[in-house]
């Protein structure tokens, strides 16, 4: 059993707070990703879990045991670093077996474990090479191998794919997922790339400025973001956030963006939004894939509007269209054959079933 619990975990550097009291429960065998922009505290949190940073306040428990003062080597964890941190003067075999050799594990067992890990990662032929003879992807595998060999309670990954080129990154992502399915160890993974987070995680923890914005399964975060930050962070291209006002017109609620454009709020949301009727510092959130070209058949709660397109980006399978509303650049994804042209007006459809309303002042999704 390897659960990890963080209670009011805090880290302050001199006068600057890096992590401001976070609570998190990670279940055994779970793959949790901490994601957020640079400086949000995700790496600091990971390093505190590893024992490489002192804890200013709060508790870390691994398997219900308080590990605040336990040195890294006694926490039964393994870490994969962004720069791999392979020992340059040792062979791949020696790199992977270093931890076991320090613990005086008998040689036959070391060999068995290293070869097993090498097999999982497909690096058997590299065992006698030195790190400088390996490519970036191979080094990353060796770093993972070093972690697997230790058979720890928790794997910690600190932005392991940041140093790889785009294609390799995609490859290694699948690799990591495959390994996790085979070696079912609790994993805490840190990245700034939300695509990695979404594809790898059982649960995603979105962090910002030292606090947790939201924790949830990828789908949950995508379709039901709790805060403005999460709404804007998850998803690429990002969700459109347009200043709007909520009006009550003849008993029904309407979202008014500007003089021209306004939408009716879907009936199933009316009850939820009614308390906020009359407010004008709100944000209307709609993902680009929910702004489409006008189709012959219209679903309920889809409204048509017309705008002048500023830029179009043909992507092959779709065309991204950009237009301005209320001074905000809005992105939509239309069929490549819909005849979108920059500078021309076009009729688009907003699928309001997926709309979000956000209170600009508090940042909360209503």
């Amino acid at each position: 059993m390897a659960q990890v619990t963080l209670r009011k975990l805090t880290k302050t550097y001199d006068a600057t707070p890096a992590v401001r009291g976070i609570d998190l429960d990670i279940a055994d065998k779970e793959f949790v990703v901490l994601v957020g922009p640079s400086g949000c505290g995700k790496s600091t949190t990971l390093r505190m879990i590893a024992g490489l940073e002192d804890i200013s306040d709060g508790e870390i428990l691994i398997d219900d045991e308080l590990v605040n003062d336990v040195p890294p080597k006694d926490r039964d964890i393994a870490m994969v670093f962004q720069n791999y941190a392979l020992y340059p003067h040792m062979t791949v075999y020696e790199n992977m077996s270093f931890g076991l050799r320090l613990k005086k594990v008998p040689k036959p067992e070391i060999r068995a474990r290293v070869e097993n890990a090498a097999r999982i990662l497909d690096i058997q032929e590299l065992l006698e090479r030195k790190p400088k003879q390996l490519s970036g992807g191979q080094r990353q595998r060796v770093a993972m191998g070093r972690a697997i060999v230790r058979d720890p309670k928790v794997f910690l990954f600190d932005e392991p794919l940041s140093n790889l080129d785009a294609k390799l990154r995609v490859q290694m992502r699948t690799e990591i997922k495959r390994v996790h399915q085979k070696v079912r160890t609790t994993t805490i993974y840190v990245t700034h790339d939300q695509v990695e987070a979404m594809t790898l995680a059982d649960r995603v923890v979105v962090m910002n400025a030292g606090l947790i914005e939201q924790v949830g399964a990828p789908n949950e975060l995508y379709h039901a973001p709790a805060t403005r930050f999460v709404a804007g962070f998850i998803g690429s291209p990002a969700m459109n956030l347009i200043p709007c006002a909520l009006e009550e017109v003849a008993g029904a609620l309407r979202v008014r963006l500007n003089g021209e454009v306004g939408f009716a709020v879907p009936p199933d949301r009316t009850a939820r939004y009614r308390p906020y009727a009359g407010r004008s510092e709100l944000l209307f959130g709609l993902r680009p894939e929910h702004i489409l070209e006008q189709r012959p058949q219209q679903e309920p709660n889809q409204e048509v509007f017309e705008v002048a397109l500023e830029v179009t980006e043909p992507m092959g399978m779709e065309t991204l269209v950009y237009f301005g509303v209320n001074g905000v650049e809005v992105c939509g994804r239309v069929n490549p054959n819909a005849g979108a042209q920059a500078g021309q007006r076009m009729r688009l459809v907003a699928d309001l079933n997926h709309m979000h309303l956000i209170d600009d002042a508090s940042g909360k999704v209503l």
Partner: protein, 307 residues
Amino acid sequence: MVVAHSARLSAVRPRTRVRRLWRRKSTIAFAMALPLLLIVGLLVLYPSLYAFYLATLNKSMERFVGVANFAFLFKRETFWMVVKQSIIFAVSAVLFKALIGLFVAHMVHNVPTKGQRKWRGMLLIPWVIPPAMSTLAWLWLFDPSYSAFNWLLQGMGMDAVPWLGDPYWARFAVILVNVWVGAPFFMIMYLAALKSVPEQLYEAAAIDGANWWQKLWFITLPMMRNIIAITVLFSLIVTFANFDIVRVLTNGGPVDQTHVFATWAFKVGIESNDIPLGACVSLVMVPILGLAAVFILRDITRRGGEG
């Protein structure tokens, strides 16, 4: 027609111009390196070879006596004493210099970076002061009648030490001063090497389960292997051939018990006016120095090949 002709001409001319440039480049280069080669050739290589010739002459340098000088030396007890002393002196001094240098470098490295500069500054001072001058200070500190060290010892109830009078203490004194002068150099070198080891390696080792001396043994020292080898070999050569400290501190005394090759060669060659014999003494250093130089060369080229 004319246009085409001149076009072809200008195509030919740049090529000869380029060829001339090539020739000029290497001659310029050679000319620039020439003074260096002259200095080294005339004042280092030639005298070294000349030393061999000198060693084969008799005292008044009139007759050729072959290896008689060497034979004479090998029979003398003082010679073997000098050999023994030089080797003990060089090996122990370099050993202590390296160990102290490594230890102090670690201490400086542990201190927050902002404060390191002033510690480094203070610790390097023995290296900056001309050795002849600082040895005078040590001479005064070891003075038989007025030694400040003895004053402290006696103040604590212990006996005064005949620092320069007793052969064993004299050897200790010479080694001590040599270590004092040389350790800062090692410290600076090793500090630079320590800084070049990436911090993440230590973090990975911490997670792998290494304590402080395992980190030192498995990570720090292997990564520093090259610089340790180079500094040790370099220092062996320099310490082995050292002159200033022994000359000022003991001048080889008491009773020739602290003579090393350099000081004895000086005494025999210049002071006793037997140049061939002095040359002999100096030359005995050559095989030992040559061996060390071979190791250094091997290490340099090996390091150039590795990442």
